[in-house]
Point group: D2
Chain length 262, copies 4
């Protein structure tokens, strides 16, 4: 497979920096490490090394989803890949699942959900801020070339009503998720899972206690994931000095069936 005009690529230089590019006729990639034209890249294969006008080597790949998420446009803090991955396993997402997320935000989680529910799955993404959904649409379109068929965007606040029923999972990334609990109870299938990403522990406490109070959920639990990168370089084998000390807390729960009442 060879690089073609219109494809999204990532160029990695010898300093460890990387750059997203959409390949275009007459496109140019210029940094202080010299120039590469898109015409030079087209026809090459993934992983090949090219030489810039100033003699520096760069390597060209298709971006991974993680790389794209780190580089994509955003207007909001995004959920980091470590948390996205853990949410996906935490709600037991599988091909064919119907999942709802609220809010859409810049689309980081949505990009991953669309991938992992597959062609037969559905992702309903609610957000009542059209300017954010615009960004998410741009990001989806940039990464997948179009809005994936399994994604349905809705400009709506889920606390005013969820139209879907029998959802396998609901994933919440907005500031007052407890206000959506009654709607979620109606929208999830029995056995369906809830996950919520929350920046502060005050939100965690409130959400967990409201979930406990309704008595409709089981396996309510909370955690956080710390990512600790290590440097392995000559004698320097140690954790990195500067790290992200906190992204968000995660809350999970599972809907019971039968006599649910709010």
């Amino acid at each position: 497979m060879q690089f073609e005009y219109g494809q999204l690529i990532i160029i990695k230089d010898c300093k460890g920096k990387s750059y997203l590019q959409k390949l275009m006729k007459n496109g140019r990639f210029q940094t202080h490490l010299g120039l590469i034209t898109h015409d030079q890249i087209v026809g090459k294969k993934e992983g090949e090394t090219l030489v810039t006008s100033t003699g520096e080597e760069v390597t060209v790949f298709y971006p991974t989803l993680n790389e794209f998420i780190q580089k994509m446009g955003r207007r909001t803090a995004i959920i980091q890949p470590k948390d996205i991955a853990f949410i996906i396993m935490g709600v037991d997402l599988k091909p064919g699942d119907k999942v709802l997320e609220a809010g859409t935000g810049s689309g980081a989680l949505l990009l991953a959900l669309s991938r992992y529910v597959g062609k037969e799955g559905r992702v309903y993404s609610y957000d009542n801020r059209p300017e954010l959904q615009e960004i998410a649409i741009k990001n989806l379109t940039k990464f997948y070339e179009k809005i994936p068929d399994n994604v349905i965007l809705k400009q709506k606040d889920i606390t005013t009503g969820i139209e879907e029923k029998n959802l396998d999972a609901v994933i919440l990334d907005f500031s007052e998720p407890w206000s959506a609990i009654p709607e979620i109870i109606n929208a999830l299938r029995p056995g369906g899972k809830l996950a919520s990403y929350l920046p502060t522990i005050i939100q965690v406490e409130r959400l967990v206690k409201e979930l406990q109070r309704t008595d409709n959920f089981i396996d309510i639990h909370s955690c956080e994931l710390l990512l600790r990168p290590w440097q392995i370089k000559g004698f320097s084998v140690r954790p990195l000095h500067k790290i992200i000390g906190h992204t968000g807390f995660l809350v999970f729960a599972r809907l019971k069936g039968g006599k649910n009442n709010v």
Copy 2:
């Protein structure tokens, strides 16, 4: 959808304990909290609450993959869900991918890989210990009712040769992964990803330095993930006292193309 004979279920009691069961005619689930017959469960719906012979309430679900992994038979330490999830995003796994894992172990990672490459993907799982692959086969069969069509088990040590070509990812969970580097270079497609799960930092150092030495890989990086569960119970809002302080380190790398030489 109602529970049927032959299905795998998980019964959760009021103490927070849970139990895997395969539903069988005349099957019985007996604990100190009383008896439930499988016949009572069949015909009920997921999430329903049943009452045992001694009046205790239990709730019945289909097990999530995470739950199954925690409860399944094993003869080896297994990769935990937090690490499985991070590996899957780290190697950019997507439906249709061809991925190799070595070794099979008890099958925890394999269960997840099979799910996320989907019907059109393939998972080649190498292990030269037949007694472990037996356990993995049992676990696959128990969870998926049969060995999934996208799983190919091979009784073989990958350092003696990888038969597949153009793999999207190779995931290594055995003690001397550096010994497989030449084979991996031949088996991965350019741009393909490598991940390795390693219990000790000595292994991380050795693998990373051998990967650096070959000059065939880019984006070589190492990290670990710490999972910190929180208790949210009345006034007690705090991290749990006893936690798992370490599971394993993770190493990732991506194969460059072109003039690869070992």
Copy 3:
């Protein structure tokens, strides 16, 4: 210096276990690894290895304060050495300081405060639970042979009044430290430091917000310390699997001078 009757020692066996003993005429130390009589130990020097009746080697030392704290009698959760040490530097404790602690608890922090304020310092330890102060007295007496001259124990709740003035530091280890803020403002010297050890984040939030509200404090900050032990044994170089995931949170603040008002 030789071991003498009446001294507190710690016996360490070849399995890594250790045992506190007060040396007594005809005293006996008996475990499944055999018998050592106290008479055998008296006259030996610190660090010497002795052989039990069954031929096992043990080594005898004076206990460190850390070791004593881990082994001493208690009726309460104790502050761990990592937190004690950080509190002592956090309140800038030095020889000659006058420091108040509340409550006394089992005396772990008190043992350390007495050591580090030295002969010319003073530690006022308040607790209104006489049964706990009894345990602290036993622990002080066991470790220091008597209640140190620089320790003053008071059976009193500090929220009902602090008799001391011009204290260099106040250290709080009880559940509602905010209720003592007015008393603390009167008892600390300007520039004096406050530290509080708190099991839950709810307490941290409440204390910090009440300290912020009075406007009498500066440098109000909160943190927690995680201790991660490593195993270094042959090829196994890695963090320990089972660790303490949480002890307590720490809050620090410093009293401003001048126009203080509550």
Copy 4:
């Protein structure tokens, strides 16, 4: 007690910044928040609030040791207060102890050791880099007004010989501490403690294994401390986003007595 010329103070502004100053006749403290003259400060009491020429409030204190360490001159990475505090408790340091440190570095640990061994203790600080000891001398003199009587600086590499005997503790902060083991065995009293601060895990492994090999040490253990600051501000109750992910590892050991041989 009032501020006097010649004293070291710390000025804290309303933005949370702080500045060390030595009070001098005609001294001036000028920032973008206005001017305060030292003459204004002299005669005031600790903790008082002063107003700058532009109407901003600042508060004046004597610096804590922690604050001084963060602000003092340095030419080396310094050991952080969390690690200093843990080392001091880890080697069971007490008033009157004789302790050796190598190397002196910029003097951060030395400042604390001098404080906690008290008047009757001794700190022997070895370093063969005179330019570093110069910085340490400046820092000691700035904080304590002179080199404390209990501090003895030696321009010497400890691997070439330790002149002291019967030391209570030896604390190592240089890159190849294993090379000093024979000298340390001779210099420590039986029961004396060793601590080493090490940036990389490779050093930890080497030191621990050499200590294990000599068979002269007991209680050899390794760990690291993570400091996690929290933000408590309105609804934002969460760990800080940017943190120091690693300072150094710590190794501790205790010398056995009797038949020591290297």
